[in-house]
């Protein structure tokens, strides 16, 4: 409807004069003079007065809206270095990071939340400012440990850094070390980056990887929410809610973190530019019946119509569509050698979308499926030829649910509270998402989103994967769950706009809980600069091929030497972790170098009910027995080296009880005396 045909609501205007009626005009000939065409005649005013004038330029915003969010964001960022300087991380307990944080850190988080809320409440929210506010929010919440801790947390992040180091050596993943080397895409990628940059370690990357990758995830959630929710504010709220509900902490330096980026990229393509919908062009009501008063059709006919109706087509030009196909196929192909589970999650989601006709390019499903099958059958052949039990499950392995939930409910009060909060958060997420699915159904008659969120739960059948499976299942569904939750919250707020204040308060509580939950294990997941330096020094001093083992599998014990120093927890006979039965296991494994970290001590105290000083007692007894000597001691950190010549491959090791045994020819020189001076102080 153009401005000329729009009615003002009054009676019909008076009939136009004779001169304004439609007239036949002679087509101009080649010699006709140029004639002007008269413009439209203004309509006469109706009985209610003249039509409203067109809207003028928007009124200028109040300085509060113009400068409020930027000032809050700058203040939040400025407080972060002060928070890092004033936080005391030296004695974290069972509650983890939260009690150790400086009040300035909490103020920075509050300012970041205020920045987001102020810009969202602005009459005209600015997209660049919202993006900056989201970045600051991520930095002050997910990135808080990266800010206040000088090194990356998590043993697994350092372990994967060690995998990258192993691949960077000669470009070939070592065999017989760890099952994850059969999916070496991520390790090869970072080994290439490392070599190209001329670096020999990735410590800084490890430290800042979580906030960086969560920022990328948030972009994906924002893009998905724009497609599914529309509007200008709701997609940003979806991104913030995703950050707030992402307690799962699969965002450390790991293959699955990168795989989620690829998954979100493909999903954004499928639900965005490739999105289609079965629309009956003939006007026959499809399924479900859109209006209550519409005449019902037989169910079989509705299903038949729905199935036979071809999806409509995207309006993008062909070249853009082809470029999107190429990028999506590239992501799907890259997923296969990167992570074990993520390809199955995205294939399942694409299959659902293809069945209901929601995206164009169903060949992508075939490409993804064939890629995974080819890679597993050919590329990961050694894996399933030797470790098929990881797929089928063994009789002595606990299920994923048991390992992911029941086995973790232990520790002191702080640990138990944090773990119960981890149980409550997924429940809250699913509750909100189901409410959002109902709102989405009422609004768009669509149940596909909740199906997309539920598809990854099918992977729970792989019970042999271990306790992390539940975390991955939650993570794969979290973007869609978050978007549905935002739809529910939007419907809740639209009832009464005063509820927006309640939502702002809930956002503060959510992010406080996020800090508490994510940092709940930092008492024993914290890694210090001393830990890293001590470990590197231990590897530098270890002879080639010597076994280097940690007392327990925390700390950066495998940041290098993977494949060379038998440093993975691989001892048999219940000795995968030496601390489970320290003296028997140490006698059995006979590590050449034994690593002790403060995190091991904390883990035993806050998680396993050990008495303070238990690692020191083990260390002192090992030294007193003459088996080991300390080459480094400082507090709970220590490096013990075995007092015996190195065993030669193929030659049985000499009996440790026979001090006068003759060392085999070519053996390394005998270790120094046990009373050699240690490099550090004693605890």
């Amino acid at each position: 409807m153009t401005s000329e045909t729009r009615r003002t609501g009054g009676p019909d205007p008076v009939e136009a004069g004779a001169g304004e009626r439609t007239q036949y005009m002679q087509p101009p000939g080649p010699d006709s003079p140029t004639s002007a065409v008269r413009g439209p005649v203004p309509r006469p005013a109706g009985p209610d007065g003249p039509p409203p004038p067109p809207p003028g330029p928007p009124a200028p915003l109040s300085p509060l809206w113009v400068w409020g969010a930027p000032v809050l964001a700058v203040l939040a960022v400025l407080l972060l270095p002060l928070a890092a300087a004033t936080s005391d991380l030296s004695d974290m307990g069972g509650w983890g990071l939260a009690p150790a944080l400086s009040p300035l850190a909490w103020v920075a988080l509050a300012l970041a939340i205020a920045c987001c809320v102020v810009e969202l409440w602005s009459p005209r929210p600015r997209i660049p400012m919202l993006g900056a506010a989201t970045t600051v929010l991520i930095l002050c919440s997910t990135g808080m440990p990266s800010v206040v801790q000088p090194q990356a947390r998590f043993t697994t992040a350092w372990l994967i850094s060690g995998f990258v180091d192993a691949v960077a050596g000669n470009g070939v993943p070592p065999t017989g070390v760890d099952a994850r080397f059969y999916w070496p895409g991520f390790f090869a990628q970072w080994a290439w980056f490392r070599d190209a940059a001329g670096a020999d370690q990735l410590d800084t990357i490890l430290r800042w990887y979580p906030p960086a990758v969560v920022a990328v995830w948030a972009i994906g959630v924002y893009a998905l929410a724009r497609s599914m929710l529309g509007g200008t504010r709701a997609p940003w709220v979806a991104a913030w809610l995703f950050v707030g509900l992402n307690w799962i902490e699969q965002d450390y330096f790991s293959p699955q973190a990168t795989a989620i980026v690829l998954l979100l990229t493909v999903l954004t393509f499928a639900l965005g530019p490739l999105a289609t919908r079965r629309v009956d062009n003939a006007g026959v009501p499809g399924w479900p019946r859109p209006h209550r008063g519409a005449p019902p059709l037989p169910r079989w006919r509705r299903w038949l119509i729905s199935a036979l109706t071809p999806p409509n087509q995207p309006t993008l030009p062909a070249r853009q569509l082809l470029l999107i196909y190429f990028c999506a196929a590239l992501c799907l192909i890259a997923l296969a050698p990167t992570h074990q589970l993520t390809p199955f999650a995205i294939i399942g989601q694409l299959v659902v979308l293809a069945i209901v006709g929601r995206f164009r390019g169903r060949g992508l499903v075939i490409v993804a499926t064939l890629t995974v099958v080819v890679f597993i059958l050919i590329g990961a052949r050694d894996f399933w030829m030797t470790q098929i039990s990881m797929i089928t499950g063994g009789s002595d392995e606990g299920g994923a649910i048991e390992a992911g939930f029941f086995d973790r409910l232990e520790g002191d009060t702080g640990q138990l509270v944090v773990k119960l909060l981890r149980v409550l958060m997924p429940g809250l997420t699913w509750l909100l998402a189901i409410a959002g699915a109902w709102v989405y159904w009422k609004r768009r008659r669509d149940l596909v989103p909740i199906a997309l969120a539920g598809i990854p739960m099918g992977m729970a059948v792989v019970q042999s994967y271990g306790g992390e499976l539940l975390l991955r299942v939650l993570l794969f569904g979290l973007p869609i769950l978050t978007i549905l939750a935002v739809d529910a919250l939007r419907a809740f707020v639209r009832v009464d706009r005063k509820r927006e204040r309640l939502m702002a308060g809930a956002m503060v509580v959510l992010f406080l809980l996020l800090i508490v939950i994510r940092g709940g294990n930092d008492a024993y997941l914290d890694v210090t600069t001393e830990d890293v330096q001590m470990t590197r020094q231990a590897y530098d001093q270890a002879p080639p091929g010597a076994t280097v083992q940690p007392l327990a599998t925390v700390g950066p014990y495998a940041l290098e030497g993977v494949g060379d120093h038998n440093n993975m927890a691989s001892g048999g006979d219940g000795c995968g972790i030496l601390a489970s039965d320290p003296f028997r296991c140490i006698d059995l494994v006979q590590p050449q170098t034994l690593l002790f970290y403060k995190s091991m001590e904390k883990q035993g105290v806050v998680l396993n009910g050990e008495q303070p000083g238990w690692t020191v007692a083990i260390r002192e007894q090992l030294i007193a027995s003459g088996q080991y000597r300390a080459t480094y001691e400082n507090g709970f950190n220590a490096v013990l080296v075995r007092n015996e010549p190195l065993p030669q491959p193929g030659v049985p090791a000499p009996d440790a009880a026979a001090p006068d045994a003759v060392a085999p020819e070519g053996a390394a020189p005998a270790a120094p005396a046990p009373d050699a001076p240690a490099q550090g102080g004693t605890p």
Binding site: T386, A558, S570, I577, A579, P582
Partner: protein
């Protein structure tokens, strides 16, 4: 090894045929000749290449994998870690260490 290499080559062939078909389908979208001979031919080629790939996969590992899955056993020839994702995960509790030993002096 030749079979594996041939399987990878057939897989690349499948990708190439799918790409060519997508090009023909999308660049002809909206025209009257949407189901031309090129599109029909490429559809047949895509189906044929997929069938060929499935045959190659079946011959190069597929039968063995199915056999292993049915029997549920395999000869372990390489050591592995204790779990598919060994190492400490957030919130993961390792086995409880033994209590500290008594004072050696006692």
């Amino acid at each position: 090894m030749t079979g594996f290499a041939l399987t990878w080559i057939v897989f690349l062939l499948v990708l190439a045929v799918f790409a060519a078909r997508a090009w023909v389908v999308e660049t002809n979208r909206g025209r009257l000749s949407t189901a031309g001979s090129a599109q029909r031919g490429l559809t047949v080629a895509a189906v044929g290449s997929v069938v060929l790939l499935v045959v190659m996969l079946t011959a190069n590992g597929g039968i063995e994998l199915v056999d292993l899955l049915i029997n549920g056993e395999a000869t372990v020839t390489a050591p592995s870690d204790q779990a598919a994702t060994g190492g400490q995960q957030p919130g993961e509790a390792p086995p409880a260490p033994a209590p500290p030993p008594a004072d050696p002096a006692n």
